[in-house]
């Protein structure tokens, strides 16, 4: 029998971890001489009380959904893909090549092409670490970290030496042609006399991210492959005896993970900057780790956690604008979330398990 009810595992523990993270974040804000309540109010106002704020929150959330799903899929096969950052960078390269060299008549076709480009490039970047893990036993965490740095160097080389337009100074590709312009929320939801989401980057990719959440849910819990993936993650030897090939599952899980991380670039590169820039990922690949841990690797949890982090990101930008609290506060909050929901999970879990066991004993 389980030590505690299922709802406690998926709802109570993340909430307690979140409260702990929030508590320590508040302490940090206090320690630098600002008021946590005022900071929180400012964050809510900047991120959620105006449509432009929502436009940023959902734009960031789109990134985090993709990277969160990427980490989650790998988690289900008990692998830690820390290389989402690199896979997203290379995914951006795929998006740029598709947008620059294929004349797209309409954005609806372009987004399909760009998604395919992003997914293929992202997956390709995950393929070598996956193969090395499956066939040569090299630790996936180390190889994906190394591949993040290699990706950054590669992207730098490609932008500076190959894709940079003649005469341009900054390391970035040329502007994408107008046929690839994705409708923003402003284009979609504004009426003639009521302009919504003014100047914010949220775009149609948000719905692509939601579709990805649904598809990942379907894949993990409703298909044979998903079952094999979870079985492998649960017990490698058990899966082996059931005839599941570890090599095949490792490689497939990482390909899916890399493809999802790569697709983040559709949002940043095609939807926002409309050209390939050097630091398009801005650490979103790593935030995917926090999002996946917080969302308990479930697509719906990832969706909620991504919105929460989107809010934190946008709120943090507002804080940096109006107070002396730098944007790095968000990095601290992110670290605390990873610490409490991931590494110190047992610290929260053990006392809770004891409590539930005691409760049950009293009932019996």
């Amino acid at each position: 029998m389980d030590k505690m009810p299922h709802w406690a595992d998926i709802v109570l523990i993340p909430i307690i971890s979140l409260i702990l993270a929030a508590f320590f974040s508040a302490l940090v804000i206090l320690a630098i001489g600002e008021s946590p309540v005022a900071a929180f109010t400012l964050m809510v106002e900047g991120a959620l009380m105006r449509s432009a704020g929502w436009g940023y929150t959902l734009y960031y959330a789109t990134n985090f959904m993709f990277t969160g799903l990427a980490v989650s899929v790998a988690f289900h096969a008990r692998m830690f893909n820390i290389g989402g950052e690199g896979q997203a960078m290379i995914g951006g390269l795929g998006v740029a090549l598709v947008c620059l060299y294929i004349p797209w008549p309409h954005w609806s076709l372009a987004i399909l092409g760009a998604s395919a480009g992003a997914a293929i490039f992202g997956a390709a970047w995950a393929l070598i670490p996956a193969y090395l893990q499956a066939k040569r036993g090299s630790h996936i965490v180390i190889t994906t970290i190394m591949f993040n740095f290699i990706a950054a160097a590669l992207l730098n080389y490609v932008l500076v030496n190959l894709l940079r337009p003649v005469g341009a100074m900054d390391p970035a590709s040329a502007k994408f042609p107008s046929g690839t312009h994705l409708p923003t929320f402003r284009d979609m939801f504004s009426t003639a006399d009521n302009i919504l989401f003014r100047g914010s980057p949220a775009n149609v990719t948000f719905f692509l991210a939601i579709a990805a959440c649904v598809l990942v849910w379907f894949l993990i819990w409703r298909t044979r492959l998903g079952y094999e993936l979870r079985a492998f993650g649960h017990s490698e030897s058990g899966a082996k005896y059931a005839g599941i090939s570890p090599v095949r599952i490792t490689v497939i899980a990482m390909l899916i993970s890399g493809a999802l991380a790569g697709m983040m670039a559709v949002n940043t590169t095609m939807g926002e900057s409309e050209r390939l820039i050097l630091n398009a990922t801005e650490g979103a690949g790593f935030i995917g780790i926090a999002v996946a841990l917080m969302g308990r690797s479930h697509p719906f949890g990832v969706f909620l956690a991504a919105i929460l982090f989107g809010f934190l990101y946008q709120g943090g930008a507002e804080l940096a604008l109006w107070t002396s609290i730098p944007r790095e506060l968000i990095v601290v909050i992110q670290a605390l979330v990873i610490l409490f929901t991931g590494a110190l999970d047992n610290m929260v879990r053990m006392p809770l398990e004891k409590m539930f066991l005691a409760l049950r004993r009293r009932k019996a």
């Binding site: 940090v28 320690a31 630098i32 001489g33 830690f80 820390i82 070598i128 090395l132 040569r136 036993g137 090299s138 630790h139 965490v141 180390i142 190889t143 970290i145 190394m146 591949f147 740095f149 290699i150 160097a153 590669l154 730098n156 080389y157 500076v160 030496n161 790593f286 780790i289 841990l293 002396s324 609290i325 730098p326 790095e328 506060l329 968000i330 990095v331 601290v332 909050i333 992110q334 670290a335 605390l336 990873i338 610490l339 991931g342 590494a343 110190l344 999970d345 047992n346 610290m347 053990m350």
Partner: protein, 324 residues
């Protein structure tokens, strides 16, 4: 020949300086991982130490106090890592990731609060920095061809911590292979149950390893901010913790090989700062980005096991559960 010396010598000289933080961090990782605790938080500990050593060195005007503060900050993060991965048996890799972000965020936050210079410390001068140590006769010998410049520039004239890093290599070797503590440390990374059966505390040993790791990362960070550079700037560790990790794997978790790997990776870093010299030496236009990526590429090749297989400590990454 003289030409070669005049080009190579400054590069080798900066190799020594760039290899030092790598070497400290690499040996730090070696202690931790040999005891069975993976540590991808070297980067974060180094960064935290860099900030606190620069901050305290600036406010007190004393580089030694700064160094101690850096070590203390790094050890504090080590204790968090120990708490998560030893006491609460959490995922060591996730804990390392959290520590890296914690350091990246906190250093800027505190720096902004203390100094209000956009997340950096004011630049350090005089006694707030580690100055060069001139070896006896360095100035006198400088004019002797070949040997003179090598002695006076390459060997002499580095700061205190460079020599400490070099001494840390034989010290680590001695502790690991010639003391009872070292034997137990290596055993606890391979087979903790055997150590436990022999009546030695697995938890105690692992905590001690994690603390040594914190101490060495603290020295790495202190050197970065008070020796190599004069003050702290945001994200100044710039991936060095991960290069050190790569060097550790490259060295297959052995101290002397770690020295070689760190010197090699330091040399690559020194080369990427001097693309002009690379062109003169090789007569080929090697992209700087390739030099930047080379430590990581080499590590992946080593990890792939095509050139000698890198196998880490067997119990690495797993928490020890006694009641099994």
């Amino acid at each position: 020949m003289m030409d070669l010396v005049t080009i190579l010598l400054p590069i080798l000289d900066s190799t020594m300086r760039l290899a030092t933080p790598l070497l400290f961090a690499c040996l730090a990782g070696l202690f931790s991982e040999r005891a069975g605790v993976f540590d991808i938080g070297l980067e974060g500990k180094m960064l935290a130490a860099a900030f606190f050593s620069a901050a305290i060195a600036y406010t007190s005007g004393n580089v030694w106090l700064g160094m101690l503060a850096g070590i203390a900050a790094s050890i504090a993060l080590s204790l968090i890592h120990g708490l998560a991965s030893i006491t609460f048996r959490g995922n060591q890799l996730i804990s390392g990731v959290a520590i890296n972000f914690l350091a990246a965020g906190m250093t800027v936050l505190v720096a902004q609060d203390w100094f209000k210079q956009g997340g950096r410390t004011p630049s350090l001068q005089g006694d707030a920095r580690f100055g060069p140590i001139e070896f006896p006769g360095a100035a006198a010998l400088a004019d002797v061809p070949v040997v003179g410049p090598i002695y006076s520039e390459l060997i002499s004239g580095h700061s205190f911590l460079v020599y400490i890093a070099l001494l840390a290599v034989p010290a680590t070797w001695w502790i690991l292979y010639r003391t009872r503590y070292g034997l137990r440390l290596r055993a606890v990374g391979e087979n903790p149950a055997a150590v436990d059966t022999a009546g030695v505390s697995v938890i105690g040993l692992r905590y001690s390893a994690v603390l040594i790791c914190g101490l060495l990362c603290g020295l790495a960070g202190a050197y970065l901010a008070t020796g190599l550079q004069a003050g702290f700037v945001k994200d100044m560790s710039a991936g060095r913790g991960f290069i050190a990790l790569a060097a550790l794997i490259f060295a297959k978790w052995r101290p002397w090989h770690a020295l070689g790997a760190c010197l090699l990776f330091g040399f690559l870093q020194a080369l990427s700062l001097r693309p002009d010299a690379v062109k003169i030496l090789t007569r080929v236009d090697i992209p700087v980005q390739l030099l930047d990526a080379l430590p990581y590429i080499l590590t992946v090749v080593i990890l792939a096991g095509f050139v000698g297989k890198a196998i880490g400590p067997r119990a690495g990454g797993e928490a020890y559960v006694k009641e099994r």
